[in-house]
């Protein structure tokens, strides 16, 4: 059955309709035929029952005389009248005592069954046996037995079968005729729809519309199909416009633009790429673009790109591409992944910016800076010796020959000694500044409290002199060179001590986590800084006070900035002139370490 059902399912609708009509017609006819035959056979039997009973009674009645008077001839004649009924197979008259008296048979071989008692009609499969007592004056004088064959039923069934077959044939022809009409009603709209759908599918032309033939469900289907097509058409046009927009955007960009599939194979290069890939996309799509990457950069480029493709992370790298003229040029390549609602990467879009000139300038600048730094370091270092001589010898002169000099001479010598000392400090600071750019190992955490204590120890004399009070909260471990952190604290606290009012300075150091960094603050109640100088103060040799009220070389904050930026942090100040300043700086912290409540303090 399933096989048949599948075969039927795959037939065209026209064939299905035909088959269904035929099945319906045939089954209706077969049912009707069977009903007629069954009903007729029942009807015929009841008719036969009445008819044969009557016939038997007549024959029995007519046989009374012959039987009573033993007239075999007359009895036989009476029975022979049954010849008019061709289906009477045989008829017998039995005497009172059950002995056969007279007999008629259509075929000589047929024999009547022995009579039963009383009136009886019995149907067998092939015949009917009627037993009719022969009555005379209220008494039974014998029995008539009649055998009637049922060939008639077969004949009638045959007849009806023939009629049903003929009607079936006629109705099948009618069904065929009807099916072709139905084909027009059902199959035509469907095949029109199918044709429309096929041509849309084949040509991709969404302006095609299906013809509506009827106003029924199929017509509705055609309407809905057309609405759908209209929807697709407008969306298709939108898509085309959008694609054009993107292409126009991508093509008109000064940068090289590319897109890639989620697996990292490149499927689009904009026009700017032609100076690298030359002619066609086909030669450089997929992964073949790697042939244009500088051999030294290929490995790193592929590694990073594969990492991004695997993780969806932003790609950002600098590498060299070979132009069609054979020259390599530095590019900044970055690529972003686009995600769908489920977070899966749907595509990559990337740009390659030519940064060759910039890169070259940067290199030159860096080299110049390095030279300058080297020069500054060497100069400072080499200057230390003669400066120390000036200080040492001016002190020797003061000690041994001071008495011989007059007042002016001693004063001038004092100027010389002071100048030498300041020069030495300046050179020390310069050296510190150049060293601030040098690397210090930071792979283990540093206790910032210890660095703060060291700074305070170094500044203990100045603290005592100024009567300052230095307090701090709990301070965390951070990732920065110990001496660098100490340098920053020392400079900031030193400044707080230096730029003060007449009253004793109060300095507070605190720290709080900010993402991967820790933000330290050094707060004072000093003279403060005018907002316009907030940036300037971090420059080398930038001093706001050139008078001698506040001594210093103007390098301290520059050193702080250099150190903090060296570790990826930043430094800034917030201040209200006359009321005090708070310097903030950020350095990398060990994650999981939190700053607690204010605890320690050191008073001067």
């Amino acid at each position: 059955m399933p096989v048949n059902a599948r075969i039927f399912r795959n037939k065209p609708i026209r064939r299905k309709l035909l088959i269904m009509i035929m099945i319906a017609t045939a089954s209706a006819l077969a049912l009707a035929g069977a009903g007629i035959v069954v009903f007729d056979s029942l009807l015929f039997r009841s008719y036969l029952r009445r008819d044969l009973t009557a016939l038997a009674r007549i024959i029995a009645d007519n046989s009374t005389g012959a039987l009573t008077f033993g007239d075999l001839k007359a009895a036989t004649e009476t029975l022979t009248t049954l010849r008019a009924r061709p289906h009477v197979a045989s008829a017998c008259v039995f005497g009172k005592d059950g002995i056969l008296f007279a007999h008629y048979s259509r075929h000589n071989a047929t024999v009547c069954p022995a009579p039963g008692a009383g009136e009886d009609i019995r149907f067998t499969t092939s015949d009917v046996v009627v037993t009719q007592p022969i009555l005379l004056s209220g008494g039974t004088v014998g029995t008539l037995v009649l055998v009637y064959d049922l060939d008639e039923i077969g004949e009638r069934t045959q007849l009806f079968g023939g009629i049903v077959a003929a009607v079936l044939l006629a109705s099948s022809l009618l069904a065929l005729l009807l099916a072709s009409k139905v084909r027009g009603v059902i199959e035509k709209p469907i095949s029109t729809l199918v044709r429309a759908a096929s041509s849309v599918s084949d040509t991709g032309d969404y302006s095609i519309r299906a013809q509506k033939i009827s106003n029924d469900e199929l017509g509705l289907l055609a309407d809905r199909f057309n609405e759908m097509l209209a929807g697709i058409q407008s969306r298709d046009e939108d898509l085309k416009a959008e694609r054009e927009r993107f292409r126009f955007m991508a093509e008109s960009m000064p940068q090289k633009i590319f897109t890639a599939k989620p697996d990292g194979t490149v499927d689009y290069f904009n026009r700017q790429w032609t100076d690298v890939i030359g002619s066609s996309f086909e030669e450089s799509g997929g992964w073949s673009w790697t042939q244009f990457v500088h051999p030294d950069d290929v490995e790193e480029t592929v590694r990073l790109w594969q990492h991004s493709v695997a993780t969806g992370e932003l790609l950002n790298l600098e590498h060299r591409f070979r132009r069609t003229d054979g020259k390599y040029r530095w590019h900044l390549t970055s690529a972003h992944s686009m995600h769908d609602l489920n977070g899966h990467i749907t595509m990559w879009i990337g740009s390659n910016t030519d940064i060759h000139e910039q890169k070259e300038k940067e290199d030159a600048l860096r080299r110049a800076n390095e030279d300058l730094q080297q020069f500054a370091y060497s100069a400072s270092h080499d200057l230390q010796e003669p400066i120390r001589n000036v200080a040492v010898y001016s002190e020797i002169v003061a000690r041994h020959y001071g008495a011989r000099l007059d007042d002016d001479g001693r004063q001038f010598l004092g100027f010389l000694h002071e100048g030498g000392r300041r020069l030495a400090t300046l050179v020390d600071d310069l050296l510190a500044y150049t060293r601030a750019g040098a690397a210090e190992p930071t792979d283990s955490p540093v206790d910032s409290l210890e660095a703060l204590r060291n700074s305070i120890t170094s500044l203990s004399e100045a603290i005592r002199e100024s009567g300052a009070e230095v307090t701090w909260d709990e301070l965390p471990d951070v990732f920065i060179g110990t001496s660098h952190l100490q340098q920053v604290f020392q400079n900031l606290i030193g400044n707080a001590l230096k730029y003060r009012h007449d009253k004793a300075p109060r300095i507070h150091i605190a720290a709080e986590p900010q993402g991967k960094f820790c933000r330290f603050s050094v707060q004072d109640n000093g003279i403060g800084i005018d907002p316009q100088y907030k940036e300037k103060i971090f420059g080398v040799f930038k001093r706001l006070h050139h008078d001698r009220t506040y001594g210093g070389t103007g390098i301290g904050l520059a050193i702080c900035q250099r150190v903090v930026e060296r570790y990826g942090g930043r430094i800034w100040v917030e201040s209200q002139p006359g009321k005090g300043s708070t310097f903030y700086f950020t350095v990398p912290r060990r994650t999981g370490t939190g700053a607690g409540a204010p605890l320690g303090s050191a008073a001067g």
Binding site: L67, T68, G70, D71, I99, L100, F101, N108
Partner: protein, 180 residues
């Protein structure tokens, strides 16, 4: 040929049936002529309708009267035991002379045929049964005839009609000859 043989065999069977039909024919002895005639006489009653005035009362029996010589003997008395026709009992009476009205419904005479034949013609509702074809010709209603060793009878329907008797067509059908 085959058909002829079959017919004769059926005739034998018929004869046998007939033999068995009559209780008289019990035992090995063949039924005598008058045994058959006695039976017929009884059976005639069943095929004849008498007018109501033929009987003295509504439940009067049908009397079979043997006029004069009695050829049946006791056999007919035995036969008539328990027999009835049309709701009336059958009785046998022997009469020395012709009976008064309503006494007999069937009268049989072996020897006084001519006289009986005339009486029947007198219009009384009595079925007259006699011997020979001449009995019928002379005005009798039913006359026994022996033909090919078989007992048969001729009927005069006109005589019966004249006596207001109605003879069943079934009786007429088995008669040797019927005078209309």
């Amino acid at each position: 040929m085959a058909k002829g043989r079959n017919n004769s065999s059926w005739r034998n069977a018929g004869a046998l049936a007939l033999l068995c039909l009559f209780p008289m024919a019990r035992a090995a002895e063949a039924p005598g002529e008058y045994d058959v005639k006695a039976t017929y006489l009884l059976n005639f009653a069943k095929f004849v309708e008498w007018p109501a005035n033929a009987f003295a009362t509504a439940d009067s029996p049908i009397a079979i009267c043997i006029l004069g010589k009695d050829p049946f003997g006791r056999a007919i008395d035995e036969l008539v035991q328990g027999e009835s026709a049309n709701g009336r009992k059958l009785v046998v009476r022997r009469m020395p002379e012709f009976p008064s009205p309503q006494t007999c419904q069937i009268v049989f005479s072996e020897d006084g045929g001519a006289e009986l034949a005339r009486m029947g013609a007198a219009g009384r509702a009595i079925l007259t049964v006699g011997e020979g074809a001449a009995f019928v010709r002379n005005g009798g209603m039913i006359g026994f005839v022996v033909e090919n060793h078989r007992v048969r009878f001729d009927i005069s329907q006109s005589a019966a009609r004249a006596a207001s008797l109605h003879l069943s067509s079934r009786l007429l059908a088995v008669a040797r000859e019927v005078a209309r």
